[in-house]
């Protein structure tokens, strides 16, 4: 009985949380004159794909979509690797300047991102002179900068998860003769998997939704544009195309949900590993 009540309550909350999203999807399917209407209704009798058609016919939609996916996935992959190593170092070892480093990781997150676009722009311009793939107009510049912005957070976050793994486990593994390397990747890594899921979702969303850097760095190479920027075409000073914005946002939200469902499985197996250990 208690569980039924709790579950009912949780489902109601889920409905409330999801409602704005439902409204977004609904608006994407509504015909234009129903979107801005004096009597909004939570359904539509004349569903239409017009808004999606407009969103999808943005030239090169597929290309932009792939660019966004590539950037986001590389960022997630690299940030998992690098932040896992760094978090282990910061948790399992004691050395001087450790606290300083930790504080620095916080400080860099506090700087307003907009303020950094100017110095980063010039940095990328010089980087591009020696390594073109990481310079302006290339996806590499976006990967680098998103990686830099997701790392401090990912490291901080993973620290907590690494710290939660009992030190005795490491000692036991060492006694069993496992090398440090094996311990790191075969024991510790699966154990902190739930934490990795949370950080990678965040890195993914961060890289996926960004358009500040995309519009600053990708100046003349249209083929390297990312999706959020392409959808900006519907936001106009004079007349917003709400239907297309909603359709575009719907399309943008789907990959993140898919990504979450994929890593969700990983989260479960990570937990299974923890139980076995």
């Amino acid at each position: 009985m208690r569980r039924w009540l709790t579950e009912g309550f949780v489902l109601i909350i889920a409905a409330v949380v999801a409602f704005p999203l439902f409204w977004m999807v609904l608006s994407a399917f509504k015909p234009e004159d129903e979107i801005i209407s004096a009597d909004p209704v939570p359904w539509t009798t004349r569903p239409t794909l017009d808004s999606f058609t407009r969103a999808l016919t943005v030239a090169n939609f597929g290309r932009y979509f792939m660019n966004s996916i590539i950037v986001a996935l590389i960022v997630v992959f690299l940030s998992i690797l690098i932040s896992f190593l760094a978090a282990t170092a910061l948790t399992r070892f004691r050395f001087r300047s450790r606290t300083t480093l930790l504080i620095m990781l916080l400080v860099v997150q506090m700087v307003p991102v907009e303020a950094l676009t100017v110095p980063l722009f010039f940095l990328m311009r010089s980087v591009g002179d020696s390594v073109p793939v990481f310079g302006l107009n290339h996806l590499g510049s976006l990967v680098l900068v998103h990686l830099a912005f997701s790392l401090p957070f990912a490291i901080w976050m993973l620290r907590g998860f690494v710290a939660a793994v009992p030190v005795e486990l490491e000692e036991a593994a060492t006694l069993d003769g496992a090398s440090r390397f094996r311990f790191l990747w075969q024991v510790l890594f699966p154990l902190v998997a739930p934490g990795l899921v949370a950080t990678s979702v965040l890195s993914f969303i961060h890289a996926w939704n960004d358009f500040l850097f995309a519009k600053t760095f990708i100046i003349s190479a249209v083929e390297n544009q990312t999706l959020p920027l392409a959808l900006q075409v519907f936001v106009k000073p004079d007349q917003n195309d709400w239907g297309a914005i909603m359709a575009g946002s719907t399309l943008m939200t789907i990959p993140v949900l898919i990504f979450f469902m994929l890593v969700q499985r990983r989260l479960v197996s990570g937990l299974a590993g923890a139980v076995k250990g």
Partner: protein, 294 residues
């Protein structure tokens, strides 16, 4: 292992992170501080005009501005409400999530993840739609057609805070849930065998184990909510009627970045960073006094 050996291995693990952070964050931040000491506009950036060193001129300008102090106070209060709200909602739902069957939990997580992953601009727009004075569903349901949620200073702040909590509680919830799940079952079983009540277990076993994670989500929430931009910008139409809903980041954007006054913008950025650092340090010290180590 010797202390020196430890340091060496640690450094090897840290090297990739340090390389990226040093080059792509530390160096630009150093540049930012430099820029804040100059009169640095678009003309200077593109090389059309010589640089002029102002020393602390940009800072004097800023700190002498009365509006800045008003906006600052508003920002702190607004961020505080958002942080507390996000943590409470997130923690409450994380605990509930451990007590329901998987499919119910997945439903909640999917809904939350949807909220989390909605692009900030789109999320703000949808909320505005729902709460629109004339065309919004909320007024239609409440029978308050024509009531503007964004006109009054306090309802506007409340609405934006609700939206911010909506899209940031999932992070707290998912993280705390992962943390709770990572606690070895034996520990909880042991507590149960000792006859501790559910509440006692939560308070004296689960909570202490979760402390590192709670610390992280709290600090992150402070950092994010202090820098809220999109929601205020979109939902209050650039800072509310006559700028009465401005927060620091939007203020900085309007006063500096939109007008290409990068010197002043950099100064605001530096001031914001120092302030945030102060708040975080205060929080960390309070924690340390209660026995928690960094």
């Amino acid at each position: 292992m010797t202390a020196k050996g430890q340091g060496r291995t640690a450094f090897a693990y840290l090297a990739p992170a340090l390389l990226i952070l040093g080059g792509l964050l530390a160096y630009p931040i150093y540049q930012l501080v430099l820029i804040s000491l100059y009169d640095y506009g678009q003309e200077q950036v593109s090389g059309g005009a010589p640089l002029e060193f102002l020393g602390l001129g940009n800072y004097r300008n800023l700190l002498g501005n009365q509006q800045f102090w008003g906006v600052l106070g508003q920002t702190v209060a607004f961020a505080a409400v958002c942080v507390v709200g996000t943590l409470l909602v997130g923690a409450f739902l994380a605990i509930l999530a451990t007590r329901v069957r998987t499919w119910v939990r997945m439903t909640l997580f999917l809904a939350a993840l949807g909220a989390w992953s909605t692009p900030a601009v789109a999320g703000s727009t949808i909320w505005l739609f729902l709460f629109d004075a004339n065309f919004g569903l909320v007024n239609e349901v409440l029978g308050t057609q024509g009531f503007s949620w964004t006109f009054d200073k306090w309802t506007a702040f409340g609405l934006v805070a609700a939206q911010v909590i909506w899209c940031s509680f999932p992070f707290v919830m998912v993280t705390l849930f992962a943390g709770i799940k990572a606690i070895p079952g034996e520990v909880l079983e042991a507590a149960a065998l000792d006859g501790a009540s559910a509440f006692r277990t939560a308070w004296s076993v689960t909570l202490p184990l979760l402390k590192p994670i709670i610390l992280v989500v709290t600090i992150q929430s402070i950092i994010w909510d202090f820098k809220v931009f999109t929601q205020i910008y979109v939902m209050t139409n650039g800072g509310g009627i006559a700028g009465r809903n401005l927060v620091l980041n939007v203020y900085a954007y309007q006063q500096a970045f939109a007008a290409s006054e990068y010197g002043l913008g950099a100064a605001i950025g530096v001031v914001m960073t120092v302030l945030l650092l102060g708040i975080t340090m205060f929080y960390l010290r309070a924690l340390r006094r209660s026995g928690e180590v960094l």
